[in-house]
Protein backbone atom coordinates (compact mmCIF):
# COMPACT_ATOMS: atom_id res chain seq x y z
CA UNK A 1 0.00 0.00 0.00
CA UNK A 2 3.04 2.27 0.14
CA UNK A 3 2.65 2.81 -3.58
CA UNK A 4 -0.66 4.63 -3.05
CA UNK A 5 1.08 7.05 -0.67
CA UNK A 6 3.78 7.57 -3.27
CA UNK A 7 1.18 8.26 -5.98
CA UNK A 8 -0.60 10.73 -3.72
CA UNK A 9 2.70 12.53 -3.08
CA UNK A 10 3.36 12.64 -6.82
CA UNK A 11 -0.06 14.15 -7.42
CA UNK A 12 0.48 16.81 -4.76
CA UNK A 13 4.00 17.71 -5.91
CA UNK A 14 2.75 18.56 -9.40
CA UNK A 15 4.17 17.67 -12.77
CA UNK A 16 7.90 17.50 -13.33
CA UNK A 17 7.83 17.42 -17.13
CA UNK A 18 7.29 20.21 -19.65
CA UNK A 19 4.85 20.59 -22.50
CA UNK A 20 6.43 20.72 -25.93
CA UNK A 21 8.01 23.01 -27.23
CA UNK A 22 9.22 24.07 -23.79
CA UNK A 23 12.57 22.53 -22.93
CA UNK A 24 14.77 22.39 -19.85
CA UNK A 25 17.95 24.52 -19.82
CA UNK A 26 20.91 22.87 -21.49
CA UNK A 27 23.76 21.51 -19.42
CA UNK A 28 27.33 22.75 -19.79
CA UNK A 29 29.11 21.17 -22.72
CA UNK A 30 25.89 20.26 -24.51
CA UNK A 31 26.66 19.17 -28.05
CA UNK A 32 24.20 20.65 -30.55
CA UNK A 33 24.44 21.46 -34.26
CA UNK A 34 27.90 21.63 -35.81
CA UNK A 35 28.78 25.13 -37.08
CA UNK A 36 31.32 25.67 -39.84
CA UNK A 37 33.59 28.68 -40.20
CA UNK A 38 34.68 28.81 -43.87
CA UNK A 39 37.31 31.43 -43.11
CA UNK A 40 39.28 28.98 -40.96
CA UNK A 41 38.87 25.78 -42.97
CA UNK A 42 41.88 24.58 -44.92
CA UNK A 43 40.11 21.60 -46.50
CA UNK A 44 42.08 18.87 -44.73
CA UNK A 45 38.92 16.68 -44.60
CA UNK A 46 39.81 15.35 -41.17
CA UNK A 47 36.21 16.04 -40.08
CA UNK A 48 34.87 13.80 -42.85
CA UNK A 49 37.36 11.10 -41.82
CA UNK A 50 36.25 11.26 -38.19
CA UNK A 51 32.52 11.41 -38.93
CA UNK A 52 31.37 7.80 -38.48
CA UNK A 53 27.72 8.79 -39.00
CA UNK A 54 28.57 10.18 -42.45
CA UNK A 55 26.83 13.42 -41.66
CA UNK A 56 29.79 15.36 -43.11
CA UNK A 57 30.64 14.93 -46.76
CA UNK A 58 33.69 16.35 -48.51
CA UNK A 59 34.16 16.53 -52.25
CA UNK A 60 37.34 17.96 -53.71
CA UNK A 61 37.67 18.96 -57.37
CA UNK A 62 40.88 20.71 -58.40
CA UNK A 63 41.45 23.77 -56.24
CA UNK A 64 37.91 23.75 -54.98
CA UNK A 65 36.24 21.62 -52.40
CA UNK A 66 32.69 21.31 -51.11
CA UNK A 67 32.03 20.70 -47.44
CA UNK A 68 28.47 19.65 -46.49
CA UNK A 69 26.82 18.79 -43.20
CA UNK A 70 23.50 16.96 -42.75
CA UNK A 71 22.19 17.21 -39.16
CA UNK A 72 19.55 14.57 -39.83
CA UNK A 73 22.38 12.01 -39.96
CA UNK A 74 24.48 13.54 -37.19
CA UNK A 75 24.82 11.75 -33.85
CA UNK A 76 26.32 14.90 -32.25
CA UNK A 77 29.32 12.94 -30.99
CA UNK A 78 31.62 15.95 -31.41
CA UNK A 79 34.50 13.97 -32.91
CA UNK A 80 34.66 16.31 -35.91
CA UNK A 81 35.03 19.35 -33.64
CA UNK A 82 37.72 17.65 -31.57
CA UNK A 83 39.64 16.66 -34.66
CA UNK A 84 39.57 20.04 -36.41
CA UNK A 85 43.06 21.48 -36.00
CA UNK A 86 42.05 24.79 -37.61
CA UNK A 87 39.17 25.35 -35.17
CA UNK A 88 36.79 25.76 -38.11
CA UNK A 89 34.12 23.64 -36.43
CA UNK A 90 32.17 24.44 -33.28
CA UNK A 91 29.02 23.04 -31.75
CA UNK A 92 25.93 24.92 -30.57
CA UNK A 93 25.12 24.74 -26.89
CA UNK A 94 21.38 24.38 -27.49
CA UNK A 95 18.96 21.86 -28.96
CA UNK A 96 18.68 21.73 -32.76
CA UNK A 97 15.50 23.37 -34.08
CA UNK A 98 12.49 21.28 -35.09
CA UNK A 99 12.48 20.40 -38.77
CA UNK A 100 9.92 18.55 -40.84
CA UNK A 101 11.89 17.33 -43.85
CA UNK A 102 14.94 15.11 -43.70
CA UNK A 103 17.42 17.60 -45.21
CA UNK A 104 15.92 20.87 -44.01
CA UNK A 105 18.98 21.85 -41.96
CA UNK A 106 21.59 20.64 -44.44
CA UNK A 107 24.32 23.16 -45.15
CA UNK A 108 27.03 23.09 -47.76
CA UNK A 109 29.97 25.37 -48.60
CA UNK A 110 32.10 25.46 -51.71
CA UNK A 111 35.52 26.92 -50.98
CA UNK A 112 38.88 27.51 -52.61
CA UNK A 113 41.56 25.23 -51.21
CA UNK A 114 44.30 27.00 -49.34
CA UNK A 115 47.49 25.92 -47.66
CA UNK A 116 47.38 25.48 -43.93
CA UNK A 117 49.16 28.21 -41.96
CA UNK A 118 52.45 27.49 -40.24
CA UNK A 119 51.96 26.07 -36.77
CA UNK A 120 53.77 28.89 -35.05
CA UNK A 121 51.49 31.56 -36.51
CA UNK A 122 47.81 32.04 -35.70
CA UNK A 123 45.23 31.07 -38.31
CA UNK A 124 44.53 33.77 -40.93
CA UNK A 125 41.24 35.62 -40.94
CA UNK A 126 40.27 33.80 -44.12
CA UNK A 127 39.65 36.83 -46.28
CA UNK A 128 41.15 35.15 -49.32
CA UNK A 129 38.67 32.29 -49.34
CA UNK A 130 35.69 32.57 -51.60
CA UNK A 131 32.87 30.93 -49.81
CA UNK A 132 29.40 30.19 -51.01
CA UNK A 133 26.73 28.97 -48.65
CA UNK A 134 23.68 27.17 -49.79
CA UNK A 135 20.86 25.62 -47.79
CA UNK A 136 19.09 22.69 -49.35
Amino acid sequence: MKILGLLWKNLRRGVATLRFPEAPPMTDGFRGLVRFDPARCTGCAMCRFRCTARAITFNAAGKQFTWAYDPSQCTFCGRCVDGCKDHALTQDAECPPIYLSARALRTSYTLQRKTPPPKSQPAPAGTSAQSGESHE
Binding site: N10, V15, A16
Partner: protein, 304 residues
Protein backbone atom coordinates in the same frame (compact mmCIF):
# COMPACT_ATOMS: atom_id res chain seq x y z
CA UNK B 1 -36.93 -3.57 -30.50
CA UNK B 2 -37.69 -2.89 -34.14
CA UNK B 3 -35.08 -2.45 -36.83
CA UNK B 4 -35.18 1.36 -36.73
CA UNK B 5 -34.62 1.46 -32.99
CA UNK B 6 -31.82 -1.06 -33.27
CA UNK B 7 -30.11 0.98 -36.00
CA UNK B 8 -30.56 4.21 -34.04
CA UNK B 9 -29.05 2.57 -30.96
CA UNK B 10 -26.13 1.18 -32.97
CA UNK B 11 -25.32 4.32 -34.97
CA UNK B 12 -26.49 7.23 -32.79
CA UNK B 13 -27.06 6.67 -29.08
CA UNK B 14 -25.48 4.97 -27.24
CA UNK B 15 -23.79 3.58 -30.34
CA UNK B 16 -21.13 4.99 -32.64
CA UNK B 17 -21.99 8.70 -32.68
CA UNK B 18 -21.96 8.93 -28.90
CA UNK B 19 -19.57 6.13 -28.05
CA UNK B 20 -16.64 7.15 -30.26
CA UNK B 21 -16.12 10.61 -28.69
CA UNK B 22 -16.81 9.05 -25.29
CA UNK B 23 -14.17 6.39 -26.01
CA UNK B 24 -11.59 9.06 -26.89
CA UNK B 25 -12.51 10.96 -23.74
CA UNK B 26 -12.13 7.86 -21.56
CA UNK B 27 -8.78 6.99 -23.16
CA UNK B 28 -7.60 10.55 -22.53
CA UNK B 29 -8.76 10.47 -18.89
CA UNK B 30 -6.94 7.18 -18.35
CA UNK B 31 -3.69 8.38 -19.94
CA UNK B 32 -3.82 11.77 -18.25
CA UNK B 33 -4.56 10.41 -14.78
CA UNK B 34 -1.78 7.81 -15.01
CA UNK B 35 0.59 10.56 -16.18
CA UNK B 36 -0.34 12.89 -13.31
CA UNK B 37 0.16 10.08 -10.81
CA UNK B 38 3.64 9.55 -12.27
CA UNK B 39 4.46 13.29 -12.14
CA UNK B 40 4.24 13.62 -15.91
CA UNK B 41 2.33 16.35 -17.69
CA UNK B 42 0.46 13.80 -19.81
CA UNK B 43 -1.24 14.20 -23.18
CA UNK B 44 -3.25 17.34 -23.99
CA UNK B 45 -7.01 17.15 -24.16
CA UNK B 46 -8.20 15.26 -27.23
CA UNK B 47 -4.89 13.47 -27.86
CA UNK B 48 -6.55 10.08 -28.61
CA UNK B 49 -8.57 11.85 -31.34
CA UNK B 50 -5.41 13.41 -32.79
CA UNK B 51 -3.70 10.01 -32.64
CA UNK B 52 -6.61 8.51 -34.54
CA UNK B 53 -6.46 11.19 -37.24
CA UNK B 54 -2.68 10.86 -37.50
CA UNK B 55 -2.87 7.09 -37.87
CA UNK B 56 -5.58 7.36 -40.53
CA UNK B 57 -3.19 9.49 -42.58
CA UNK B 58 -0.40 6.94 -42.42
CA UNK B 59 -0.07 4.14 -44.90
CA UNK B 60 0.35 0.52 -43.91
CA UNK B 61 3.71 -0.88 -45.00
CA UNK B 62 3.80 -4.04 -47.06
CA UNK B 63 3.75 -7.24 -45.02
CA UNK B 64 5.10 -10.02 -47.20
CA UNK B 65 3.73 -13.44 -46.41
CA UNK B 66 0.80 -12.11 -44.40
CA UNK B 67 -2.82 -12.32 -45.51
CA UNK B 68 -3.73 -8.64 -45.88
CA UNK B 69 -7.50 -9.19 -46.03
CA UNK B 70 -7.50 -11.10 -42.76
CA UNK B 71 -5.28 -8.51 -41.12
CA UNK B 72 -7.69 -5.77 -42.20
CA UNK B 73 -10.77 -7.75 -41.19
CA UNK B 74 -9.89 -8.34 -37.52
CA UNK B 75 -9.84 -4.69 -36.37
CA UNK B 76 -13.03 -4.01 -38.36
CA UNK B 77 -14.82 -6.91 -36.68
CA UNK B 78 -13.47 -5.80 -33.29
CA UNK B 79 -14.76 -2.24 -33.74
CA UNK B 80 -18.15 -3.45 -34.97
CA UNK B 81 -18.53 -5.85 -32.05
CA UNK B 82 -17.49 -3.23 -29.49
CA UNK B 83 -19.88 -0.68 -31.00
CA UNK B 84 -22.65 -3.29 -30.97
CA UNK B 85 -21.95 -4.01 -27.29
CA UNK B 86 -22.13 -0.30 -26.47
CA UNK B 87 -25.37 -0.04 -28.47
CA UNK B 88 -26.94 -2.74 -26.30
CA UNK B 89 -26.24 -0.94 -23.03
CA UNK B 90 -29.48 0.05 -21.28
CA UNK B 91 -28.50 3.66 -20.74
CA UNK B 92 -31.96 5.07 -21.49
CA UNK B 93 -35.10 4.00 -19.63
CA UNK B 94 -36.83 2.89 -22.81
CA UNK B 95 -38.43 -0.36 -23.77
CA UNK B 96 -35.63 -1.36 -26.10
CA UNK B 97 -33.68 -4.57 -25.90
CA UNK B 98 -34.98 -8.10 -26.16
CA UNK B 99 -35.06 -11.26 -24.12
CA UNK B 100 -31.53 -12.56 -23.65
CA UNK B 101 -29.69 -9.45 -24.78
CA UNK B 102 -27.32 -9.78 -21.81
CA UNK B 103 -25.97 -12.94 -23.43
CA UNK B 104 -25.51 -11.10 -26.72
CA UNK B 105 -23.75 -8.26 -24.90
CA UNK B 106 -21.35 -10.67 -23.21
CA UNK B 107 -20.68 -12.38 -26.55
CA UNK B 108 -20.02 -9.05 -28.29
CA UNK B 109 -17.67 -8.03 -25.51
CA UNK B 110 -15.63 -11.19 -26.09
CA UNK B 111 -15.23 -10.72 -29.83
CA UNK B 112 -12.52 -7.98 -29.72
CA UNK B 113 -10.34 -10.18 -27.51
CA UNK B 114 -10.82 -13.14 -29.85
CA UNK B 115 -10.04 -10.91 -32.83
CA UNK B 116 -6.87 -9.81 -31.09
CA UNK B 117 -5.82 -13.43 -30.60
CA UNK B 118 -6.36 -14.40 -34.24
CA UNK B 119 -4.79 -11.12 -35.42
CA UNK B 120 -1.62 -11.97 -33.53
CA UNK B 121 -1.46 -15.40 -35.13
CA UNK B 122 -2.37 -13.96 -38.55
CA UNK B 123 0.52 -11.52 -38.34
CA UNK B 124 3.00 -14.45 -38.31
CA UNK B 125 5.18 -12.44 -35.99
CA UNK B 126 6.87 -14.13 -33.06
CA UNK B 127 5.88 -11.28 -30.76
CA UNK B 128 2.32 -11.35 -32.10
CA UNK B 129 2.05 -15.07 -31.45
CA UNK B 130 3.40 -14.73 -27.91
CA UNK B 131 0.92 -11.91 -27.24
CA UNK B 132 -1.94 -13.94 -28.68
CA UNK B 133 -1.06 -16.96 -26.57
CA UNK B 134 -0.97 -14.75 -23.49
CA UNK B 135 -4.29 -13.17 -24.44
CA UNK B 136 -5.86 -16.61 -24.88
CA UNK B 137 -4.69 -17.72 -21.43
CA UNK B 138 -5.86 -14.44 -19.92
CA UNK B 139 -9.24 -14.85 -21.62
CA UNK B 140 -9.68 -18.28 -20.09
CA UNK B 141 -8.57 -16.97 -16.69
CA UNK B 142 -10.87 -14.02 -16.19
CA UNK B 143 -13.84 -15.15 -18.27
CA UNK B 144 -14.87 -17.89 -15.87
CA UNK B 145 -15.20 -15.30 -13.12
CA UNK B 146 -16.70 -12.68 -15.45
CA UNK B 147 -19.38 -14.97 -16.84
CA UNK B 148 -20.24 -16.47 -13.44
CA UNK B 149 -20.67 -12.95 -12.06
CA UNK B 150 -22.87 -11.91 -15.00
CA UNK B 151 -24.98 -15.04 -14.64
CA UNK B 152 -25.33 -14.46 -10.89
CA UNK B 153 -26.66 -10.95 -11.58
CA UNK B 154 -29.11 -12.27 -14.14
CA UNK B 155 -30.27 -15.10 -11.88
CA UNK B 156 -30.72 -12.75 -8.93
CA UNK B 157 -33.22 -10.72 -10.98
CA UNK B 158 -34.76 -13.70 -12.81
CA UNK B 159 -33.99 -12.19 -16.21
CA UNK B 160 -31.41 -12.10 -18.96
CA UNK B 161 -32.92 -8.92 -20.32
CA UNK B 162 -30.70 -5.87 -19.77
CA UNK B 163 -33.56 -3.39 -19.58
CA UNK B 164 -35.21 -5.46 -16.86
CA UNK B 165 -31.94 -5.76 -14.96
CA UNK B 166 -31.25 -2.03 -15.18
CA UNK B 167 -34.74 -1.02 -14.08
CA UNK B 168 -35.10 -3.57 -11.27
CA UNK B 169 -34.19 -2.68 -7.72
CA UNK B 170 -30.69 -3.92 -7.07
CA UNK B 171 -30.18 -6.64 -4.48
CA UNK B 172 -27.01 -7.07 -2.41
CA UNK B 173 -26.20 -10.17 -4.49
CA UNK B 174 -26.12 -8.07 -7.60
CA UNK B 175 -23.45 -5.85 -6.05
CA UNK B 176 -21.45 -8.97 -5.19
CA UNK B 177 -21.58 -9.92 -8.87
CA UNK B 178 -20.71 -6.38 -9.97
CA UNK B 179 -17.63 -6.37 -7.74
CA UNK B 180 -16.53 -9.64 -9.38
CA UNK B 181 -17.04 -8.03 -12.82
CA UNK B 182 -15.03 -5.02 -11.66
CA UNK B 183 -12.11 -7.26 -10.70
CA UNK B 184 -12.17 -8.69 -14.23
CA UNK B 185 -12.31 -5.29 -15.97
CA UNK B 186 -8.56 -4.46 -15.81
CA UNK B 187 -7.83 -7.81 -17.48
CA UNK B 188 -10.53 -7.25 -20.07
CA UNK B 189 -9.12 -3.81 -20.84
CA UNK B 190 -5.48 -4.97 -20.82
CA UNK B 191 -4.32 -2.41 -18.29
CA UNK B 192 -1.79 -3.05 -15.54
CA UNK B 193 -1.37 -5.44 -13.80
CA UNK B 194 -2.92 -7.54 -16.58
CA UNK B 195 -1.31 -5.87 -19.58
CA UNK B 196 0.83 -8.85 -20.48
CA UNK B 197 -0.74 -9.62 -23.92
CA UNK B 198 0.14 -6.15 -25.22
CA UNK B 199 3.30 -5.55 -23.21
CA UNK B 200 5.11 -2.77 -25.04
CA UNK B 201 8.57 -3.26 -23.57
CA UNK B 202 8.66 -7.05 -23.66
CA UNK B 203 6.92 -8.09 -26.86
CA UNK B 204 6.37 -4.79 -28.69
CA UNK B 205 2.60 -4.68 -28.04
CA UNK B 206 2.19 -8.35 -28.97
CA UNK B 207 -0.62 -8.85 -31.51
CA UNK B 208 -0.39 -5.17 -32.55
CA UNK B 209 3.23 -5.42 -33.63
CA UNK B 210 2.47 -5.75 -37.36
CA UNK B 211 -0.28 -3.13 -37.39
CA UNK B 212 0.08 0.47 -38.54
CA UNK B 213 -1.97 3.27 -40.03
CA UNK B 214 -5.73 2.92 -40.37
CA UNK B 215 -5.82 -0.63 -38.97
CA UNK B 216 -3.99 0.40 -35.81
CA UNK B 217 -6.36 3.36 -35.48
CA UNK B 218 -9.27 0.91 -35.58
CA UNK B 219 -7.67 -1.22 -32.87
CA UNK B 220 -7.27 1.83 -30.66
CA UNK B 221 -10.87 2.81 -31.30
CA UNK B 222 -11.99 -0.72 -30.46
CA UNK B 223 -10.01 -0.51 -27.22
CA UNK B 224 -11.77 2.76 -26.32
CA UNK B 225 -15.17 1.25 -27.12
CA UNK B 226 -14.31 -1.74 -24.92
CA UNK B 227 -13.76 0.73 -22.09
CA UNK B 228 -17.18 2.25 -22.69
CA UNK B 229 -18.88 -1.15 -22.89
CA UNK B 230 -17.17 -2.55 -19.78
CA UNK B 231 -17.56 0.50 -17.58
CA UNK B 232 -21.04 1.16 -19.01
CA UNK B 233 -22.21 -2.35 -18.13
CA UNK B 234 -21.15 -1.99 -14.50
CA UNK B 235 -22.51 1.54 -14.18
CA UNK B 236 -25.92 0.88 -15.72
CA UNK B 237 -26.42 -2.17 -13.51
CA UNK B 238 -25.09 -0.50 -10.36
CA UNK B 239 -27.18 2.66 -10.36
CA UNK B 240 -30.79 2.14 -9.35
CA UNK B 241 -33.31 3.94 -11.59
CA UNK B 242 -34.78 7.14 -10.22
CA UNK B 243 -37.77 9.26 -11.13
CA UNK B 244 -35.61 11.96 -12.71
CA UNK B 245 -33.73 11.35 -15.93
CA UNK B 246 -31.11 14.00 -15.18
CA UNK B 247 -30.36 12.33 -11.86
CA UNK B 248 -29.77 9.04 -13.68
CA UNK B 249 -27.52 10.72 -16.25
CA UNK B 250 -25.51 12.50 -13.55
CA UNK B 251 -25.19 9.27 -11.58
CA UNK B 252 -24.02 7.31 -14.63
CA UNK B 253 -21.46 9.97 -15.56
CA UNK B 254 -20.16 10.31 -12.00
CA UNK B 255 -19.84 6.58 -11.34
CA UNK B 256 -18.36 6.03 -14.80
CA UNK B 257 -15.69 8.66 -14.19
CA UNK B 258 -15.01 7.18 -10.76
CA UNK B 259 -14.53 3.72 -12.25
CA UNK B 260 -12.21 4.97 -14.98
CA UNK B 261 -10.14 6.80 -12.38
CA UNK B 262 -10.06 3.75 -10.10
CA UNK B 263 -8.84 1.48 -12.93
CA UNK B 264 -6.26 4.11 -13.91
CA UNK B 265 -4.97 4.32 -10.33
CA UNK B 266 -4.67 0.52 -10.22
CA UNK B 267 -2.80 0.67 -13.54
CA UNK B 268 -0.41 3.32 -12.22
CA UNK B 269 0.13 1.60 -8.89
CA UNK B 270 0.87 -1.89 -10.12
CA UNK B 271 3.46 -3.61 -12.23
CA UNK B 272 2.73 -6.17 -14.92
CA UNK B 273 2.05 -9.65 -13.55
CA UNK B 274 3.41 -12.80 -15.13
CA UNK B 275 0.92 -15.09 -16.82
CA UNK B 276 1.05 -17.83 -14.15
CA UNK B 277 0.43 -15.26 -11.39
CA UNK B 278 -2.51 -13.88 -13.35
CA UNK B 279 -4.08 -17.29 -13.81
CA UNK B 280 -3.55 -18.09 -10.13
CA UNK B 281 -5.11 -14.76 -9.15
CA UNK B 282 -8.30 -15.38 -11.10
CA UNK B 283 -8.68 -19.11 -10.58
CA UNK B 284 -7.69 -19.25 -6.93
CA UNK B 285 -8.64 -15.89 -5.42
CA UNK B 286 -11.38 -14.37 -7.54
CA UNK B 287 -13.13 -17.56 -8.60
CA UNK B 288 -14.14 -18.22 -4.99
CA UNK B 289 -15.71 -14.78 -4.98
CA UNK B 290 -17.72 -15.44 -8.15
CA UNK B 291 -18.78 -18.90 -6.96
CA UNK B 292 -19.95 -17.32 -3.71
CA UNK B 293 -21.96 -14.77 -5.68
CA UNK B 294 -23.72 -17.31 -7.88
CA UNK B 295 -24.27 -19.90 -5.14
CA UNK B 296 -25.76 -17.28 -2.80
CA UNK B 297 -27.99 -16.06 -5.60
CA UNK B 298 -29.17 -19.60 -6.41
CA UNK B 299 -29.79 -20.35 -2.75
CA UNK B 300 -31.80 -17.14 -2.34
CA UNK B 301 -33.79 -18.01 -5.41
CA UNK B 302 -34.55 -21.49 -4.11
CA UNK B 303 -35.67 -20.01 -0.80
CA UNK B 304 -37.99 -17.57 -2.51
Amino acid sequence: MNLLTALARFFIFPGLLFAIPAAWLVLWIERKSVALLQQRIGPPFGQPFFDFVKLIGKSTPARPGVNGILMRAWPLIAVSASAGAVGLLPVLPTHGGFQGDLILLLALMEIPAICMIVAGFSSRSLFGEIGSAREAVLLVSYNLVFLLAAVSIAVSQHSFRLEALASATATPWRYLGLIAILICLPAKLHVNPFSLPNAEQEIYSGPMVEYAGFELALWQLSHGLEWIAGVGLVVTLAIPPSAHLWLDVAGVLFLGLLLVLAISIIAAATARLAIDTTVRFYWQCTLAFAVLAISTTLLMRLRS
